[in-house]
């Protein structure tokens, strides 16, 4: 059944910002932005109640294009700024968009604590296995042995498995997808935005300009074909995945959500103060 559908998500792009975007041709970050906007559109929420906070790097350039309340903060600290914003404005939908370096290198500490705290928020990790903005150095998610501009002889350290890190840290919704798998990505974003808890979505993205060029995948097309071949649904049993990287929803569980717990604390504090005042004791 055909439906007329205007690209209404265009409404969520800043009307006065110059396009085309700053990213390289074929860069998956633009695909992620589109998926986020479509997912937000599905929420039917006032864009002025949506917050998007990014760190530093190519993915950090995303929020300026989105017509929400947007912040482009210091490297690795997006989750912390987003935490403060969410606590000040609990009714806002808050997203943090980070690169692999931003989220699990310099931002690693904030990543694990935000997951542990489980404050309602959507953390998108744009994983292109490189530090693109600075010209292609390796990151904690660069596969071991791969060359880069700071690993001419190949890296000698293993890479993080981001969903595993997020699950271990306590996040309540954890997923991995790729920019090739756009429909899956949109559905995962929609679920994460509706989840009452801390969601981590790793999106494998193509940096053919640096990572791909150094590993034999010189174009966006090459890299997206690789994503299709190199990943398999997590719903398949492990022995049927042929050693491919699992994608899909790793965990969707109920954990105590931080705001809800804090509201309980506020109630206890309020009662305590009332008790003091009723007893004629000074506050402070």
């Amino acid at each position: 059944m055909a439906e007329r559908s205007a690209p209404i998500f265009l409404k969520y792009l800043r009307p006065d910002k110059d396009f085309p975007t700053v990213w390289c041709e074929g860069c998956g970050i633009g695909i992620i932005l589109g998926a986020i906007l479509r997912a937000v559109d599905g929420l039917d929420i006032d864009p002025a109640q949506v917050g998007m906070v990014s760190g530093i790097g190519c993915s950090g350039r995303m929020p300026v294009y989105a017509d929400f309340c947007t912040m482009h903060v210091t490297h690795g600290r997006a989750l912390s700024f987003a935490t403060g914003l969410k606590m000040a404005r609990p009714e806002m939908k808050v997203m943090a968009v980070m690169g692999d370096g931003d989220a699990v290198a310099i931002g690693g500490n904030h990543f694990i604590h935000a997951a542990r705290r489980n404050l309602e928020m959507v953390a998108v990790v744009v994983n292109n296995m490189t530090y693109g903005m600075t010209g292609g150095q390796f990151s904690p998610t660069t596969p071991m042995g791969d060359p880069s501009y700071t690993s001419a002889y190949g890296t000698v350290e293993p890479a993080f498995d981001i969903p595993v890190l997020a699950v271990a840290s306590g996040a309540s919704f954890v997923a991995r997808t790729t920019v090739y798998h756009v429909m899956e990505m949109q559905k995962i974003f929609a679920r994460a935005l509706a989840k009452k808890g801390f969601s981590v979505i790793e999106v494998i993205t193509n940096c053919h300009t640096y990572y791909g060029k150094m590993t034999g995948m010189k174009t966006a097309v090459d890299m997206l074909r690789w994503m299709k071949e190199a990943t398999a649904p997590i719903t398949l049993a492990e022995d049927r995945r042929e050693g491919k990287m699992p994608r899909g929803v790793f965990v969707d569980r109920e954990m105590p959500e931080y705001l809800e717990s804090y509201m309980g604390l506020l109630e206890r504090a309020r009662e305590d103060k009332e008790r003091l005042v009723a007893a004629g004791l000074p506050v402070p």
């Binding site: 265009l10 110059d18 975007t21 041709e25 074929g26 633009g30 589109g34 174009t219």
Partner: protein, 93 residues
């Protein structure tokens, strides 16, 4: 507004939205491209399940309108919001 190749050239989202809504009034037109935003990455060409897009110089071109099913994959995969499917065939779920 259309130039002689049939394409339009906007530069802000506000402008594009108006052009798309205008293009939707034409029942014959299946997709719309705005060349100012296209960076020639060819992801749309590669992902089309019906292989009905090809690169014509720097821009993609619909080769055979009868093949297009309006699935929307070219639009979803475009990183630059440069191509739009005007009558989207949705499969829910």
């Amino acid at each position: 507004m259309k130039n002689e190749s049939g394409w339009v050239a906007p530069s802000t989202p506000e402008h594009v939205l108006g052009l798309v809504e205008e293009a939707m009034k034409d029942d014959e037109q299946l997709i719309m491209l705005h060349p100012d935003w296209c960076k020639s990455c060819a992801l749309c060409v590669d992902v089309c399940p019906k292989d009905c897009l090809e690169m014509d110089g720097p821009l993609p071109r619909l080769t055979d309108a009868k093949l297009c099913t309006s699935c929307g994959m070219c639009e979803y995969l475009c990183p630059d919001f440069a191509i739009h499917v005007l009558k989207l065939r949705w499969q829910k779920g």
